[in-house]
């Protein structure tokens, strides 16, 4: 059997912590990184007599995500209890919409290996997070931090539509872009605010039925998901090649070793005894509420990319780059709304602005929209060169947000000289000093223009407008810019 006679089938379950101020059923804060057990209330800790109260903001965020994934919001859904005992589960049950999801089927488009693909979403539902068991804090005991208990989660489940680790990574990248775009989740897999479990199986290409699936957990980055799927596919292939059978189990991924190992096998089958939570009224989303949420939906990344391509005339690559996150896209929009040239601004944002951000991690955008518009305008008008503007004016403007680009360029002596008389003198000087080179040029060694240009620039102290200088050199040397006919004097 050859590996390429098999196909990998992957379905993903992603849990995303919602960016609500308070928990799904109780009022305490959800901020990450607080001291253990400081963000707990009697409700979170499951004290006797406490009752859950639904956070409507969480429902709203879940609905937004559903709408962005082309899912159908269900007007009627309910919360059920998933009963099991574990120390980090305070009530002895998790409140979940497992039986009755808030959002029905939808899809997300990803950049597949052979062009765009639609990955089907089977459901999106709300549930509460559990606390965190810390096994490494004490030699004898497991410690539990209940800060995370009760935080609102959405679970986003795909159909088994993904065909490789790479596609799974593309799906997660797209999903992360969406949750961040909508402000639904910060998408941080390292901190665990977005978590992913993968169901992986192999089948012969063209086979209709799915193979036995293995669930892999504990992958805390997109890269790990990619690797874990590839590793699991290799493992399953080796088993099948030996004539063995894949055993349905749950495995945990060890990123250090790049392989997964079986998790503790439970002695008994899970029976979560789901039943509707009698403490919560069924959830009803009225048509008017749904409409209100729908009409407040922002322009989504796909539409944004298309707009940048179609009406701003940008390349697909640039358009996609600007719509990578909402902040960048919104920044671009606000700069061009000031009348700036879209292509030039795209170059600015994806070039110098992005590099500056990469060099200063955690910073906000360095320039206000109007400053960037002014700066770009100065370059287009030939007042300063792009290289001087990006390498020198930009950092100076960041340091002195009150100054205008013109002021900065002046103070750094970067304003380009466009005085034809002054440049003409320098051109004559240089050509007079390099007579033999001029001869060579006229014989056809056109590349020498760069040398002459460099000399003139040097003599001007770098201030001469290079474009203008070049034009003047070419004219003087008898050559003409391509596409122009010589003019008779």
């Amino acid at each position: 059997m050859a590996p390429d006679s098999f196909e990998i089938v992957v379905g993903l379950e992603v849990h995303a912590q919602l960016l609500t101020q308070s928990k799904l059923f109780s009022p305490e804060s959800t901020a990450f990184g607080a001291a253990p057990n400081t963000q707990t209330s009697p409700i979170t800790l499951g004290h006797p007599g406490t009752l859950p109260r639904l956070n409507r903001k969480a429902v709203e965020l879940a609905l937004k995500m559903g709408m962005a994934c082309h899912c159908t919001p269900e007007p009627h859904s309910y919360f059920a209890r998933k009963n099991y005992f574990y120390p980090d589960l305070p009530k002895g049950y998790q409140i979940s919409q497992h039986r009755s999801p808030l959002c029905g089927p939808g899809w997300i488009r990803i950049a597949g290996e052979e062009g765009p693909r639609e990955i089907r979403i089977s459901r999106i539902h709300l549930e509460e997070d559990a606390g965190k068991s810390l096994h490494d804090q004490d030699p004898a005991f497991t410690c539990i931090d209940f800060n995370r208990a009760g935080i609102a989660l959405i679970e986003i489940v795909t159909e088994p539509d993904l065909r490789s680790g790479k596609e799974a990574a593309a799906y997660l990248t797209e999903l992360r872009r969406l949750v961040r775009w909508l402000g639904v989740c910060d998408g941080n897999m390292e901190e665990g605010s977005m978590r992913c479990d993968a169901n992986i199986s192999l089948r012969l290409k063209g086979a209709g039925d799915l193979g036995t699936k293995v669930e892999v957990k504990n992958m805390n980055s997109i890269r790990h998901v990619h690797k874990a799927i590839e590793a699991e596919a290799r493992r399953q292939f080796a088993i099948l090649e030996d004539g063995g059978l894949v055993c349905q189990e749950t495995r945990s991924f060890d990123a250090g070793k790049g392989e997964s190992f079986p998790m503790r096998v439970k002695e008994t089958a899970d029976d979560y005894r789901y039943f509707p939570d009698p403490d919560l009224a069924p959830l009803y989303c009225s048509p008017s509420w749904l409409e209100e949420i729908r009409s407040a939906m922002p322009e989504l990344p796909e539409a944004r990319t298309e707009r940048y391509r179609a009406s701003c005339g940008l390349s697909a690559y640039d358009a996609r780059g600007l719509a990578e996150d909402r902040e960048t896209g919104d920044y671009f929009d606000s700069v061009i709304s000031l009348g700036a040239d879209p292509k030039a601004i795209a170059n600015w944002i994806l070039g110098p602005v992005k590099s500056w951000l990469n060099e200063h991690p955690g910073s906000v955008l360095p320039l206000s929209a109007s400053r960037l518009a002014e700066l770009s305008g100065l370059v287009l008008g030939g007042t300063i060169s792009f290289s001087a503007a990006s390498a020198r004016v930009l950092p100076e403007l960041v340091r002195n947000p009150d100054k205008t680009p013109v002021q900065v360029a002046q103070s750094l002596n970067l304003i380009q000289d466009r005085d034809q008389d002054r440049i003409g003198v320098l051109v004559d000087q240089v050509l007079g000093e390099m007579k033999d080179k001029v001869l060579e040029y006229r014989k056809g060694k056109k590349g020498l223009i760069g040398l002459f240009l460099g000399e003139v620039m040097k003599k001007s102290g770098g201030n001469a407008d290079p474009r203008l200088t070049r034009e003047m050199l070419e004219k003087k040397l008898g050559g003409y810019p391509v596409g122009r006919s010589p003019k008779k004097n």
Partner: protein, 455 residues
């Protein structure tokens, strides 16, 4: 006055109605009410009213145990909405009252703090699960008390002790701070010797609460005992209930006599068919134990409550829950776990839910033609102590008349109208339509002043 109550409580300590008496605190509260009277400040709607609360209601800074070893030493970190509202209205909380463990039982004998005795005949049980609450009012140890009623736990002990026990409709009083037995059935109820007191307490504790999303969003009216505007009444009784073979013939005769008197007074009293009678107790026990098995999962000894010595996790759970809970509670947890298990779910839980829907539909049908339904509370008067402990099924079947109102979610009251030849009282259960607590109070007042026998 508070001192008088405290004296009576010590004099009747053998009834075991109180688990804890807040002596100093009650005296201090009384003194501050006295100050308000002296300074002519409004004392609050329940200013100076001495109230006891069932040991399933959280009272911030005070112990609450659900009469279980499981919560031995547990101090409530917050107050139940109902308790908070009582205190805000100036009521004096005099202590917490004994009951069946986790409100599971009909005799008040399953408490980890010992059984409660019936003040009218100490060889008999006071009923349950809110036995302590009924006894405290019946023996004059407080003016009113709060209980909880999941399947009759307010009405049946009121019946056995000869006082009024009022269970509002589901959703009328916030359950926040009430230790849950079965969430879709539990309702806080009020015990009193007269309807005025009951109506006052209901007006104070009822109404919407941000902490309980199953409470009606509408404000409660100011419940008043007034002369009913609408007379004569259209009254129904369930034929299948009165024909039930377990019903004490003397109770049956009492009701027939009562209905005759009502007819003579110009009211319409009809027997209606209710063929779901035999399904009530089974459906009730399937659904309540299912909910209880989940509601009581939080008692694991990890965050609070009874905990043995640390061990491997599964043994730790097993140990804490085996020793912390009593027999009846464990029986119901196991029953509830069973009926929710895959393979049995459809046959039990789903079917019981269907019965509940049918009961509700039939109830609505009856209330489309009648103003109130009249039923016994219990097929018998107070049982001799110990009789039911070893026959849980007989005890469950004794709930047949009271679980109806909880399955339907409607308000119901037990009125002490009758006396049996064995010397014990028995009451009439009057059931009102959804949200008709006000009408129920009025008709109760009319019955109490015109149809009380035997006194």
């Amino acid at each position: 006055m508070v001192r008088d109550y405290l004296d009576r409580i010590s004099a009747h300590a053998s009834l075991n109605a109180f688990i804890e008496v807040y002596k100093e605190e009650a005296l201090l509260a009384a003194a501050s009410i006295d100050d308000r009277f002296r300074e002519k400040l409004p004392p609050g709607r329940l200013g100076g009213v001495v109230i006891g609360i069932k040991d399933v209601l959280c009272h911030k800074g005070h112990r609450v145990s659900a009469a279980s070893r499981m919560l031995e030493g547990y101090v409530a970190p917050y107050s139940a909405t109902a308790v908070q509202r009582l205190q805000d209205a100036g009521a004096i909380i005099i202590g917490r009252l004994n009951c069946d463990e986790f409100a599971m039982g009909s005799t008040s004998e399953t408490s980890a703090f010992g059984k409660v005795l019936n003040p009218l005949d100490p060889s008999r049980v006071p009923g349950g699960s809110s036995g302590g609450s009924a006894v405290a009012v019946a023996a004059g140890l407080c003016m009113a008390s709060l209980g909880s009623d999941t399947g009759g736990s307010v009405r049946q002990p009121a019946d056995f002790c000869g006082i009024i026990g009022f269970k509002p409709g589901y959703g009328r009083i916030s359950r926040y701070g009430l230790i849950a037995y079965a969430s879709s059935f539990d309702q806080i109820g009020v015990f009193g010797r007269n309807l005025d007191m009951v109506a006052e307490v209901l007006s104070v504790i009822g109404g919407p609460d941000d902490f309980d999303s199953t409470v009606f969003p509408t404000k409660v009216p100011d419940y008043q005992v007034t002369i009913p505007e609408k007379r004569p009444f259209n009254l129904a009784y369930l034929k299948n209930a009165l024909d039930h073979q377990g019903l004490d013939p003397e109770i049956r005769t009492g009701f027939e006599f009562f209905f005759e008197k009502l007819r003579k007074a110009g009211h319409r009293v009809d027997g209606v068919d209710f063929d779901l009678m035999e399904y009530l107790a089974p459906a009730y026990y399937v659904l309540t134990t299912a909910e209880a098995s989940s509601n009581l999962a939080r008692f694991d000894g990890i965050r609070y409550g009874y905990a043995g010595k640390p061990d491997q996790l599964v043994d730790y759970y097993r140990n804490n829950r085996s020793l912390g809970f009593g027999r009846e509670v464990k029986r119901r947890i196991m029953l509830g776990t069973f009926v929710l298990s895959s393979g049995y779910y459809e046959a039990y839980y789903t079917k019981a839910q269907r019965v509940r829907r049918l009961v509700r539909a039939r109830t609505d049908e009856i209330f489309s033609k009648y103003d109130f339904i009249i039923l016994p509370n219990s097929p018998v008067t107070a049982f001799p102590a110990g009789q039911m402990l070893n026959d849980p099924v007989a005890m469950y079947l004794a709930d047949i008349y009271t679980v109806f109102a909880n399955l339907a979610g409607v308000p119901a009251v037990s009125l002490p109208l009758f006396r049996h030849s064995n010397g014990m009282p028995f009451g009439a259960q009057v059931i009102g339509n959804h949200s008709d607590e006000a009408g129920l109070i009025q008709v109760s007042s009319y019955f109490m002043s015109n149809f009380r026998m035997g006194d």
